[in-house]
């Protein structure tokens, strides 16, 4: 079959799969009356490069998308981060966001929860300002009151050892919801990314976190089969200063590391890779981001085949959630950030994401206000419905620039993966500080460009204006009284527990951590059922498995 026939055959394949998946595919005409097709591809492919490097959506090498239908069939999940103060406040915010059109949840806990400390052990003035206090099963229950958790996909920003997930599973249990109805993702399951960047999420030592992660993946595969146990995070590293190519390369290297770890536990790549998802940053370097995602898709497809012998097509899919970059937003002239988020979101859409969070324009100053959170969702809806960005799959495909850039990004990304391979894998590379050095150097380099005005930041080093400080959005802090009430409630809950049952539960957790063949996550569930709080669970695990001190390289 000559190369042109190959393309014709592949196109026919794609068309078949597309038709099967799309259901009711309405004809789309633009304002000028021109019918817009779902996909465009070259009419000739003399050198076969189209088939080799791009292919059709949903087929090798996946450059143009992981599904035949992509956003024309099902647009991305609007997964906005939510978290503020008390569980009851969070519950109210969820309901409001779901009403404005968000289709999925992403829960953000308070920084104290990230650090693994109960609210009664933290200075009250810093409680609840960035997320919800979730110390107990009751907190989770109140947060999710009247929310159909068996119908909505839930993203838990819940680092190792995944106490929020344990709490949520027990809430489901108490509500009579079978665990196979629970869908969602452990968004912050990538402990390596926390060790290296965004240390706040890093609670247990590296080997301790590894142990808990593997136990949790195993437990979930068996008991919560529709939960994505692993989300590999590039966002932290890019926010810490990694270039887009570095962030993608480092993330893929982390995925390789985890895949090796799972394989070492006897798991089957064709099965577990299906549950690998990714979480990326979207900077405002528009075309670079589009190319980054397209290259990432292609590399992942080739990588899992080459390194892990995967044949299951679903295990080759590079599924990712992305968040617009907070680092690109400015404190000066904050309304400009709406334009920035729009550009970033567009890059993510053209990059083919499956799920997105758009930042509020006041991100630099605080967690988003209700208004700015609504604008962030509306931005996505406007791009979808008014700008019609979803009518065509991979619309930038075939652009001379975008294809050349995709190839060039692929080269850079592969270089980084090679460097990490040389270090002996991502775990070793972060243990010895190699990755931290790389990221730090890039952060400094970018800062230099801003300092020298080589990179213009509107309102900051150019187009500055005198600003009325009082017009700046105000940091919203939960009322002190609310936080005090939350602390009081925790004390009451603690006092009302059966101390024998609690001690037994915590001892079980300790024993599990000390042994090699008791599943730590299962033991954590038992401890939580016995009334153990977040702080108590994390303390026991820190004692047994080591306190997480990230390697900061000065």
């Amino acid at each position: 079959m000559n190369k042109m026939d190959k393309t014709v055959a592949a196109a026919a394949d794609w068309q078949r799969n597309y038709d099967k998946m799309i259901g009711n595919d309405k004809v789309i005409k633009n304002r000028s009356g021109i019918e817009v097709q779902p996909l465009y591809w070259p009419q000739d492919d003399a050198d076969g490069s189209y088939t080799e490097k791009l292919g059709f959506p949903g087929s090798d090498p996946m450059t143009r998308g992981i599904y035949p239908t992509m956003h024309r069939g099902r647009t991305w999940s609007q997964r906005q981060l939510i978290g503020l103060g008390r569980p009851a406040d969070f519950n109210a915010r969820i309901k409001s966001i779901l009403k404005s059109g968000a289709s999925a949840l992403s829960m953000i806990p308070c920084n104290s929860v990230y650090r693994g400390i109960d609210c009664d052990e933290v200075e009250p003035e810093i409680l609840g300002t960035c997320g919800t206090i979730l110390n107990t099963v009751e907190d989770m229950d109140i947060s999710l009151k009247d929310i159909p958790i068996d119908e909505i996909s839930i993203g838990l920003n819940d680092p190792n050892p995944f106490t929020m997930l344990a709490q949520m599973l027990i809430v489901a249990e108490n509500r009579g919801i079978p665990w196979d109805m629970i869908t969602g993702t452990s968004n912050q399951s990538d402990y390596i990314s926390h060790f290296v960047a965004n240390h706040m999420f890093y609670r247990l030592s590296l080997p301790g976190a590894h142990r808990v992660q593997m136990d949790t993946i195993t437990y979930l595969a068996e008991h919560v089969p529709n939960w994505n146990a692993l989300s590999i995070v590039g966002q932290h590293m890019q926010q810490a200063g990694a270039t887009p190519a570095q962030a993608m390369g480092l993330t893929l290297s982390t995925a390789i590391q985890y895949a090796h770890d799972c394989k070492a536990r006897g798991m089957d790549p064709d099965k577990f890779l299906e549950r690998f998802t990714f979480f990326f940053d979207i900077s405002i370097s528009f075309f670079e981001e589009v190319a980054k995602f397209r290259a990432g898709r292609r590399i992942w497809n080739n990588l899992v085949t080459e390194r892990f012998g995967v044949t299951n097509p679903r295990a080759k899919r590079f599924k990712f959630h992305a968040q617009t970059s907070g680092f690109d937003l400015t404190r000066q002239q904050p309304l400009n950030n709406i334009a920035r988020v729009t550009a970033q979101a567009m890059a993510g859409i053209f990059g083919g994401l499956q799920s997105m969070h758009t930042d509020g324009y006041d991100e630099v100053l605080s967690t988003p206000s209700e208004d700015s959170a609504k604008i962030a969702i509306s931005t996505q809806n406007i791009l979808k419905h008014e700008a019609h960005l979803c009518d065509v799959i991979d619309p930038l495909g075939g652009s001379y620039y975008v294809e050349a850039l995709t190839d060039a990004m692929e080269e850079e990304i592969l270089k980084v993966i090679g460097q990490i391979d040389d270090q002996g894998g991502m775990y070793k590379a972060v243990e010895n500080g190699f990755v931290q050095e790389m990221i730090g150097a890039s952060a400094l380099e970018y800062q230099k460009q801003i300092d020298n005005n080589e990179q213009t930041i509107v309102g900051v080093n150019a187009y500055q204006e005198e600003e009325d400080a009082s017009a700046r959005p105000v940091l919203k802090r939960p009322p002190q009284a609310n936080m005090e009430a939350q602390v009081e409630r925790l004390k009451q809950i603690k006092a009302a527990r059966d101390s024998a049952v609690l001690a037994h539960g915590l001892q079980g957790l300790r024993t599990a951590a000390q042994s090699d063949n008791i599943n730590v996550f299962g033991a954590q569930l038992d401890a939580a059922r016995a009334g153990a709080t977040l702080g108590e669970i994390v303390t026991v695990l820190r004692e047994e498995l080591g306190f997480g001190q990230p390697l900061v390289v000065a």
Binding site: N432, Q549, V552, V553, A554
Partner: protein, 320 residues
């Protein structure tokens, strides 16, 4: 008059073990001044109690983590520890980022542990002059153990380690060419060799290589042990602490004063050598030129040239 009273106040407070005084004293003994001389004189009678331990080794060997574990072990034995952690200053800007104590964060609130981050700076007397003073101040402040920690990358860092009573050279497997990564000069000064990261697969090979190198040495009255440690899980630390105490005790039997005067003599030798080096390099007199030319043309040998230059130097010093 007030000045003298104030400075005596500082010495007294330091000798009484006051942390602020020690911290200030370290800062001011950076330079030379009558006040500094008075301070150093005041502490003289109180020196010689502490065991000064030098830790050096290439980057990546896990020095700071090992020192951290060593501190814990000594505290377990009821000893107080002071640490001087030295990092290089930028030769261009003179600044430095000092991050060694990140690895020792668990001891910040322990009253029995004092940690000081130092930049190598550009010392006329070399790094060792300043390090010797810092060690003395810590000794006078009453600490049982003084740790000097530095990267064994340059000559001055090696000199600094030489200031110690017990000199530990740390390596780790997989650092480039294994033992070749340890410069020959550093290996020679070691009283104790440590192979850290003992959990790594190549650790035993590194240990064997070091033992083989040591076996080639001429025998002396101290047999250098090669110890295996894992600074993260703390294995090998009691053995390291024992070896250090043993070595220190051996030096003790010759008298604490001897150990110290040995240190002082070493310091003096290094400072003299640096001074002479500077003079010889910058001497543009015709007489010294003649010596250099003669050596170049092999009219005289190196030994003779050295003696000739030293004689010239002696003459010019007399005339100055």
């Amino acid at each position: 008059m007030d000045d003298i009273l104030q400075k005596r106040g500082l010495a007294e407070r330091l000798l009484a073990g006051e942390t602020t005084a020690l911290a200030r004293a370290i800062s001011i003994t950076e330079g030379e001044s009558p006040a500094v001389s008075r301070l150093l004189k005041a502490i003289q009678p109180h020196l010689g109690r502490a065991v000064v331990v030098g830790f050096t080794g290439p980057p990546g060997a896990g020095k700071s983590t090992l020192v951290n574990a060593f501190i814990s072990e000594m505290r377990r034995r009821g000893k107080t520890v002071a640490v001087a952690a030295v990092d290089p200053s930028s030769p261009i800007t003179g600044g430095a980022v000092l991050g060694d104590r990140i690895r020792m964060a668990e001891h910040t609130m322990d009253e029995g542990v004092y940690i000081r981050s130092l930049a190598s700076r550009g010392h006329l007397g070399g790094l060792s002059a300043s390090a010797a003073r810092v060690a003395d101040l810590m000794d006078a402040a009453g600490f049982d153990v003084v740790v000097l920690e530095t990267v064994g990358a340059g000559q001055s860092e090696v000199e600094m380690a030489e200031m110690a009573d017990v000199r530990i050279v740390i390596s780790a497997p997989g650092l480039g060419d294994d033992v070749q990564a340890i410069k020959a000069g550093i290996l020679e000064i070691a009283d104790i060799l440590v192979v850290n990261k003992s959990d790594l697969p190549l650790a035993r090979r590194t240990t064997r290589q070091l033992e083989a190198m040591l076996a080639l040495r001429a025998p002396s009255d101290w047999k250098v042990p090669v110890l295996s440690t894992n600074a993260v899980n703390r294995s090998g630390l009691p053995e390291l602490a024992d070896a250090i105490e043993h070595r220190a005790a051996l030096r003790e039997t010759k008298g604490a004063r001897d150990a110290m005067s040995g240190r002082t003599r070493r310091l003096l030798a290094q400072t003299v050598a640096k001074y002479v080096e500077g003079r010889v390099l910058h001497d543009q007199s015709p007489t010294s030129e003649a010596v250099v030319k003669a050596l170049q043309k092999a009219d005289i040998d190196l030994q003779s040239a050295t003696i000739k230059i030293l004689n010239l130097l002696q003459e010019s010093l007399i005339n100055e």
